[in-house]
């Protein structure tokens, strides 16, 4: 870091602003102190390493900061909750300027301000090599609104929000240095500036009784396997029903793939996958569209565990549901906890 650390800290604190009403002690003491929610609390954490989870030649620091925060907010959305407070740990290499660090914080703050939660603490330390970012995010959720991965029931409809495949296409366009038309730029935006589905999850909960929900961080196929494993059920995914992003359709050939392969394997989409009673599917789709403008579609059904997880191809054939899609840069270590 260059000179001006004290000034940087002052600017960050100033950008973060005064603590909210339920925050008794904000930034600057041994710990933050706050009035916890009257309902259940949520906590999730995620780590991000330069060159593994993001690349500085693809995204600016503000985009990197925002996307790391979005990944955490998306986890809170998938539990049925709202984000409330975050703490940040940064390991910062010498070469980063105070301007770079400030940009990173502006990215964190873009998301925290948009979703009305507070950054209440952090730790910045030196790293000898690479930037690494770790975020722990708290949330609140109504006692009767918690949705895990573990409650899917045979007969449930499987729905997804949004359209899939764009994030992977955006990453491939960046990685391969492909020429960019308007559609390509849209896919790149999709990859660099994803939107977590807090409002959609709430809209679902307002009209349906979701049995299981997860956000798409590793890919639709991978997330469906998580639900199946944790819920001890099988899942049939209908290839023809998958909502494919138009960029995936346009670039599939160039990427030696199919649109559906891209949609099933694309990570960091941060769309929701939800299992609800089939009878609630129609009103859920209508309500989510009316309240948020986001489309939802039924992509499959929950079946018995003994039937396994299958992808029903458009020609009627069946194959085992692909577990993972494309590996993003280096494969991340297996996540054992909060973060998928």
């Amino acid at each position: 870091m260059d000179v001006g650390e004290r000034e940087l800290i002052r600017r960050i604190r100033s950008a973060i602003g005064a603590p909210g009403r339920a925050t008794i002690v904000g930034i600057g003491d041994d710990a933050a102190v706050y009035e916890p929610p009257g309902e259940y609390e949520l906590i999730t954490c995620d780590a991000f390493v330069d060159g593994v989870h993001f690349r500085r030649d693809f995204a600016n620091y503000r985009e990197i900061g925002a996307k790391c925060m979005v990944a955490n907010v998306s986890d809170i959305a998938a539990m049925g909750g709202f984000p409330t407070r975050a703490v940040l740990s940064l390991a910062i290499p010498e070469r980063m300027s105070t301007r770079d660090i400030e940009d990173l914080y502006l990215g964190f703050l873009d998301v925290s301000k948009h979703f009305s939660f507070e950054i209440v603490g952090g730790d910045t330390v030196s790293s000898r090599y690479e930037l690494s970012i770790s975020i722990a995010l708290l949330g609140a959720v109504g006692r009767d609104r918690v949705v895990t991965r573990a409650g899917a029931v045979v007969g449930d409809a499987v729905l997804v929000t949004g359209r899939l495949g764009g994030s992977e296409v955006g990453l491939q366009i960046l990685s391969r240095g492909m020429p960019r038309n308007e559609k390509a730029n849209e896919a790149i935006r999709r990859h660099l500036r994803p939107i977590p589905r807090i409002a959609e999850a709430q809209a679902i909960l307002d009209v349906a009784t979701p049995h299981a929900m997860i956000d798409i961080s590793d890919g639709l196929g991978s997330e469906l396997w998580h639900i199946a494993t944790e819920s001890e059920v099988g899942i049939r995914l209908m290839q023809s029903a998958i909502p494919v992003d138009s960029a995936a359709t346009e670039f599939a050939g160039t990427l030696s793939s199919t649109p559906e392969e891209l949609a099933i394997g694309s990570g960091e989409e941060f769309e929701l996958v939800v299992c609800i009673p089939l009878s609630e599917a129609e009103r859920t789709i209508e309500h989510v569209a009316a309240v948020t403008g986001t489309e939802m579609v039924v992509v499959g059904e929950v079946v018995a565990a003994s039937d396994g997880c299958t992808l029903v191809l458009s020609d009627g054939g069946e194959v085992e549901l692909p577990r993972a899609g494309y590996q993003h840069m280096e494969p991340p270590g297996d996540r054992w906890g909060r973060s998928d």
Copy 2:
């Protein structure tokens, strides 16, 4: 990492054990869900990087894991609270074996089990270079038992727990490869296996009304400056009253220092510094000794801000209180938040 990741995750989950009664959803979903405390909640986070905050040639992974966790627990102690739940982010280089990772977790668990709190989530990702560890720790504190750095009042007595300087001496013995006698080994243990002062903070709160409290992570001098700045007061530290660790006395000459310099500058002591009304000092010292066996002594007094922070030397002379002691390995980045 070598083979057996899935087995590692199984072992870690098994070592962590079943979630407690107030934990609704533990490890393995998008976020953990729990019943928050009925009192105030605390959150603190700290990051630790290989070669900056710990060295693998000085400590084994279990010691490293435990010490990182202790640093967080110590922050909760200094607020007047108890630790309740932790989430962990690890960025792990390829060269670490699953055994190494398991050892690191055993260290985290040594501390979480001793202080009866839960590890409810985590994220392990790949790092290209170095191990970095980030811990976010939640705590609970009674609404009338919160102690910040900001409440010290002119006339308060300044007390510290334990004896100071041992951690720095231990680090120097390790760094310089000095020959080891029994006293040297004791100092090394002090450096590698510190104990956070949860019980002592509670004992203080049971008989006194602490106005300000902080734990010694950077050094007594540095922490007193923090209290002075945040409380807008001055502090007079009496050199002759500082409780010097016997290793600091024994090794000061070899280290071209004085015992008091070592005691003022030694970081990672994780002892408490507390400002209380002078009239409460005697009963506090007696009660803490009776309940915990830990000695406390008065080392100074809170004075007006205009008097500044001074070190009153044993010969009666006065100098400005040293702000920082020895730098541990590479200087850490300035901490703007929760972590000192």
